[in-house]
Amino acid sequence: MPTTIDEEQVWEALKEVPDPELPAISVIDMGIVRRVQIDPQTSSIVIDITPTFAGCPALDRIQTDIKARLRAFASQITVNITMQEPWNTDMLSAEARQKLHSVGIAPPPMMGHGKAIPLLMGHPLTCPYCGSQQTTLENVFGPTPCRAIAYCDSCHQPFEQFKPV
């Protein structure tokens, strides 16, 4: 085991840990990794992550995947769940938004201090396939807690809309 652990390398390694439900996107892109604490003396790394949604079923899997990816860096890896400063959709990186778009999921509108429902329902949604705004929100609820179901009347494809939260 190395006697020093490079924090930069740990963050880089975390970029290779995908969100299990959106494999194109890493846990770093999602904005769920809150803190990396390294103790080279005890060869341990503690990672704090926060869930996107409270009911996210992928949390256990993410913890396991992070531990597996960081095994090469230290002998003791701990992944804690923190609810400090709860996750919101503004924490998605610009890269995350681009990647979502490329897999047919319309990224969420930026929230700032705005309210989720008017943001989702008060503005036309943009089709991630053809860019049209001739779209319909079919269901606020979708296959996962984070996604709503929409339809593009222009290119006639259904798409998912990431919900602002």
């Binding site: 869930p51 949604f53 409270a54 009911g55 996210c56 079923p57 609810m83 400090q84 709860p86 996750w87 919101n88 309210k115 989720a116 429902i117 079919e138 269901n139 606020v140 609820f141 979708g142 296959p143 996962t144 807690p145 179901i149 919900k163 939260v165």
Partner: protein, 292 residues
């Protein structure tokens, strides 16, 4: 007025508050868990496909919220969320009887969900400033998700209450079913605000920022107009507040004209829950030590 100290971790909870706080958190967890379970019973059989998706998604959120609260409780009393969710006897659960009724027909589900979501909305707002930091943080997260539930349930209440047949004959079936559901649910709904055990202690410590009685009044105030517009039962009268209560600053209080059904917080539950408990704990009870 004593200054309220923030309690940042389970370890920092004063000894006299540990059990009352654990019981409070368990009540919140059990409310969400049992309700989530009944909501999930629509998966595959909801009236329309989109509602199949909606109920399943809402149930997932609710069970996620329950998990947060079970984890908080577990951290205080030294156990696991799974043991709390599945390992207790029925009399140890602390949910309000409102959430343990079988899902019933669609009108019943919507009526019950509306009563619960609007009450929970008031309750969560009060916890957002709790002196117990983990609770305040959890609630801050939960509220962001609950806005979607509240919108869904309010939309459906409105739709059922105001649906008319398309062939010009008055068909108030939906309204009648909704009315019948509410009439059977109101006594349970009042039970949502049955005072918590050691509520005074929790209020003094700032863990609760308002009493159950106050929250109940705020809740009723927030929904009265909706029930009035929709011509749905709202079994309360407005009376002058009693001179010895803290509600002196407001012009009136809502008093129920029906008998509330309390007991859920004391572990008294109805037959529907006994059946649910059998089913939901069956696998766990086969081998509580199993690693999944």
């Amino acid at each position: 007025m004593n200054e309220i100290a923030t309690i940042a971790t389970p370890q920092a909870i004063p000894p006299t508050l540990r059990q009352p706080l654990a019981r409070l958190l368990l009540s919140l967890a059990d409310d969400e868990f049992i309700l989530g379970y009944w909501d999930s019973e629509w998966t595959g059989v909801a009236p329309i496909l989109e509602e199949d998706v909606a109920c399943s998604s809402i149930a997932q959120d609710e069970i996620g919220h329950a998990r947060l609260f079970y984890e908080e409780t577990a951290a205080i009393i030294g156990t696991t969320a799974d043991q709390l969710a599945y390992g207790r006897q029925p009399a140890e659960y602390r949910q309000a009887q409102l959430v343990e009724r079988n899902r019933g027909n669609w009108a019943f589900t919507i009526a019950r969900q509306y009563l619960y979501d609007t009450a929970d909305n008031v309750r969560l707002k009060a916890f957002k400033d709790s002196a117990y930091l983990p609770l305040a943080q959890d609630v801050s997260k939960i509220q962001r998700e609950e806005v979607y539930h509240l919108m869904h349930t309010a939309t459906w209440l409105d739709r059922l209450a105001n649906t008319h047949a398309t062939n010009n004959t008055p068909d108030n079936t939906a309204h009648a079913l909704l009315t019948a559901a509410l009439e059977s649910l109101w006594p349970d709904a009042i039970g949502l605000f049955e005072p918590f055990e050691d509520e005074e202690l929790l209020l003094e410590a700032g863990i609760l920022s308002r009493s159950s009685k106050q929250l109940e009044q705020e809740w009723l105030e927030s929904i009265e107009a909706t029930f009035g517009r929709a011509r749905l039962p709202f079994p309360f009268i407005e009376v002058a507040p009693a001179s010895d209560t803290i509600q002196q600053a407001i012009p009136y209080v809502y008093q129920p004209t029906i008998q509330p059904r309390y007991g859920g917080r004391q572990g008294q539950h109805v037959q529907d829950f006994m059946e649910l408990w059998e089913q939901m704990t069956m696998v766990y009870r086969l081998d509580p030590q199993a690693q999944w």
